[in-house]
């Protein structure tokens, strides 16, 4: 499953990023690396993007980008 499948309040652990190049590196630079815990906090009023909590800070990203992040539910 991917990060986009988690609902607000649900947490998971990052398995890997299914993306290449700039998107992948950007995600990694923001702390989206394997083994890191992540929790979905909110969904924007219009349904996209989403807010997640990772490495003790708040990160927002679009669902399209969240789809490339593989997670295992916790």
């Amino acid at each position: 499953m991917t990060l986009a499948d988690l609902k607000p309040g649900e947490a998971g652990k990052i398995v890997k990023i299914n993306a290449e190049g700039a998107l992948k590196r950007r995600l990694m630079d923001m702390g989206v690396v394997g083994g890191t815990g992540v929790r979905v906090e909110k969904v924007a009023p219009m349904g996209d993007p989403i807010e997640v909590r990772i490495k003790s800070y708040a990160l927002s990203l679009r669902r399209g980008e969240a789809k490339s992040i593989e997670v295992e539910a916790q």
């Binding site: 998107l23 990694m28 924007a44 219009m46 993007p49 800070y57 708040a58 980008e65």
Partner: protein, 732 residues
């Protein structure tokens, strides 16, 4: 060149360079402002739109130049900011790096620190916001971080000026003797180090390394990561290097993507370091930021809160600025013009010179000044939105809608501000980081019908559509928005084809920006506009004076150069229903500012020079008193406006003088259909010169201004053509 000649062999050297680097939202800007204050110089990095702040100061009898690098999360080669930061660090070789680290967000900040350490430049960490960290119950062992990383760590609270003296003293002592303060060696683990050794061995004879221009470890890491920029810039054939064996082993263990593996490794180290140095309280309290966001980003409240905030900022910007704009206007058209006239008369200057100075030069200055108040107000609020942390939330709330037409959530604010005035709106695009988002937003801003177009509508609507004035006005605004949506789609598919930029953005904690920071940013922006844009605008105003008044002594405006150009260009507008020289001359002068369309019409449609009544000119002292009184009036009015903002908004369009006469003339020269086509044309045709200059100024190139001229002229002509000819077909 200068930088490469600097070396550590000369500890007595006077000039030292300190580069300040750090994550966005770590308080870097506040720290720089606190240290440099008014000595801060804001410019752009060469060839790009990213802001560059530098300051020259003296510390302990040494000349220090402070360079602020763009806030980044990494030194990867993917964003403009990251490339700028790392190119500067690698090529200019500052004597010391001050790395601003957010103490409340240690792990992600240290990930960046580790990348800085790879460069081998002495490093001092400014462990910032220690007050916030303490409030959260964090206990941070600064000495432990220092000893593990082999750098200095100085706790600071930039907003309260705490620790900054110690920070500077440490940084300077490191810079003076870099040899003794080279950063410690941080091992990336046995397998990576074993792979790095042969790479470093193969690269150590590279001319750039031999010349001492490239740090070997960093170079080897980049080759291992297969960093395209480094490989091509230094002509390294990674496949030709005898490193296959070393890399093969790594790839077998960690997969093909070694760049990802290295990022993983750095984060692993940052996490370990954080565990060692940071003690957190057992139970995490719900933070203020989370409590505010529960309302501000709420599913149902998010949009209303955002719209209310935008409405407030829009009103405040233009209501506060309005009275001061009027005051500047009165100042230049009244006392300044009178004084210049008297002075020139006294010097027995010829008529043409008086006219040039009073109407051309002082009139032009008046134009420049009129834009200063809204730009100051706009930059103040934009800085407030960014500094407080709300800008990121605004983007979060609006992104879905803006993304649909290829824009970024943050694009909404500049576009909205465009309804007040396009000029500060173009400057507001600075909040967008990605060059593509920024350019696309700026291109669409002129389609937002600004306040200067309203006087044109008022005259034409008054002459033809008085009974349905509201509906017709509203239709024009909506038409502009509709065109922006369509053009957004078209640009997305053509000019900006390709991968849309990502939306991966931190939502920083809410913080109260310091007044000092707000004022410094606002002042810098306003000052730049005055100096840079001011010169161009003045030149254009003088040019138009020449067009309107030459050949000198021309009585009938049709015989002036402007009238002649109007006659030549009139046929272009004939299919749109307004192919007269008066209309085209007005449109040409309207390029300075769109409300000029009306004032030009007032002149050209009244061929007999209106006999101006000579009023008894006030004396110098009376003028001075009047300036003071009217400024106090402007202050009072701005203050009243702020409070009446909360009351019922009334749109009051000021009518130009002599508007009644003009309406009568226009009613004869146009039909309702051609009047509507004309208004649509005024709405859409090329942006005013000041917007173009703002685009040039903001993007460092005329490219986007040129594209705006081209596409808007074509769009305006087509839209007016379709409306006029279509209207005729259906018998309007």
């Amino acid at each position: 060149m200068m930088a490469s000649q600097k070396s550590s062999q000369n500890p007595e050297k006077q000039g030292l360079t300190i580069a300040v680097a750090g994550n966005p939202n770590a308080g870097k800007s506040t720290l720089i402002n606190a240290i440099a204050g008014s000595r801060l110089h804001v410019g752009n990095w060469p060839g790009v739109t990213v802001e560059k702040k530098t300051a020259s100061l003296e510390y302990d009898g040494r000349d220090i130049s402070l360079v602020d690098l763009p806030g980044t999360y990494s030194l990867s080669p993917y964003t403009q900011e990251e490339v700028i930061a790392r190119d500067y660090l690698v090529k200019e070789k500052p004597d010391v790096i001050v790395n601003v680290v957010d103490a409340t967000n240690l792990e992600r900040n240290l990930y960046f620190t580790l990348q800085l350490l790879e460069l081998g430049i002495p490093l001092v960490i400014a462990l910032n916001m220690t007050d916030e960290a303490a409030q959260k119950g964090f206990r941070i062992d600064a000495d432990k971080i220092a000893s593990i990383l082999g750098c200095a760590v100085v706790p600071t609270i930039a907003t309260k000026n705490e620790g900054l003296k110690h920070l500077m003293t440490t940084a300077v002592s490191f810079a003076v003797d870099p040899g003794a303060h080279a950063p410690g060696f941080v091992s990336y683990g046995e397998d990576i180090e074993q792979a790095l050794a042969p790479i470093a061995d193969a690269l150590k004879d590279h001319p750039e390394v031999l010349a001492g221009r490239l740090p070997l470890r960093w170079f080897a890491l980049k080759v291992l990561e297969r960093d395209e920029r480094v490989l091509s810039e230094y002509a390294v054939e990674a496949d030709a290097l005898p490193i296959e064996k070393a890399v093969k082993h790594l790839k077998a263990a960690h997969g093909e993507d070694l760049e990802a593996h290295l990022a993983d490794t750095r984060y692993g180290l940052a996490a370990g370091l954080t565990r060692e140095a940071l003690k957190k309280p057992e139970i995490r309290k719900k933070e203020l930021t989370e409590r505010i966001d529960a309302v501000v980003l709420n599913r149902y409240l998010g949009i209303p809160v955002f719209l209310a905030a935008m409405w407030l900022i829009f009103k405040l910007t233009f209501d506060i600025a309005g009275p001061f704009t009027d005051w500047f206007d009165g100042l230049t058209s009244g006392p300044l013009s009178r004084w210049a006239q008297r002075l020139l008369d006294f010097a027995a200057a010829p008529d043409w010179l008086v006219s040039l100075v009073v109407e051309g030069v002082i009139g032009g200055v008046g134009f420049v000044l009129a834009f200063v108040p809204p730009i100051f107000a706009m930059m103040f609020f934009i800085t407030l939105l960014e500094g407080s942390g709300y800008m990121a939330r605004a983007a979060f709330v609006m992104d879905r809608m803006m993304h649909a037409i290829g824009l970024h959530g943050k694009s909404f604010i500049p576009l909205l501000m465009g309804f007040g005035c396009n000029v500060p709106a173009v400057y507001a695009t600075r909040t967008l980081e990605n060059p593509r988002d920024k350019a696309l937003t700026a291109l669409l801003i002129p389609l937002m019908s600004c306040g200067a177009r309203l006087p044109v509508y008022v005259v034409f609507v008054g002459a033809f559509f008085a009974s349905q004035a509201g509906t017709i006005l509203w239709s024009l605004y909506v038409f502009g928005i509709g065109m922006a949506v369509i053009m957004g789609f078209i640009f997305k598919k053509t000019l900006f084809r390709g991968e849309a930029p990502v939306f991966i953005m931190e939502l920083p904690p809410y913080r109260m920006p310091t007044l000092k920071n707000l004022l410094i940013h606002t002042w810098e922006k306003g000052k730049h506009f005055l100096i840079k844009a001011g010169t161009y605008i003045l030149a254009v105003a003088i040019l138009v004076w020449f067009l309107l008044n030459l050949p000198w002594g021309v009585e009938n405006k049709q015989e002036s150069y402007l009238g002649k150009i109007g006659q030549i260009s009139a046929p272009i507008f004939a299919p749109l229903g307004f192919g007269t020289w008066e209309a085209s001359a007005s449109l040409i002068t309207g390029v300075i500012a769109k409300e000029i369309v009306v004032s030009t019409m007032a002149v050209v449609y009244a061929p007999q020079a209106q006999g101006e009544e000579e009023e008894a000119a006030p004396s110098f002292v009376e003028d001075l008193r009047e300036i003071g009184v009217s400024f106090a009036g402007a202050l009072r009015e701005a203050a009243t406006n702020v409070f009446s903002t909360f009351g019922i908004a009334t749109i009051s369009a000021e009518e130009e003088e002599g508007a009644e006469d003009l309406k009568t003339t226009i009613a004869q020269a146009f039909t309702p259909l051609s009047a509507y086509a004309f208004m649509v044309f005024v709405l859409l045709y090329m942006p005013c010169v000041i917007v173009l200059i703002a685009m040039r100024h903001e993007f460092g190139t005329w490219k986007w201004a040129g594209i705006a001229i081209a596409y808007q002229s074509a769009l305006a002509w087509t839209a007016a053509f379709v409306i006029y000819q279509g209207g005729k077909l259906i018998g309007l």
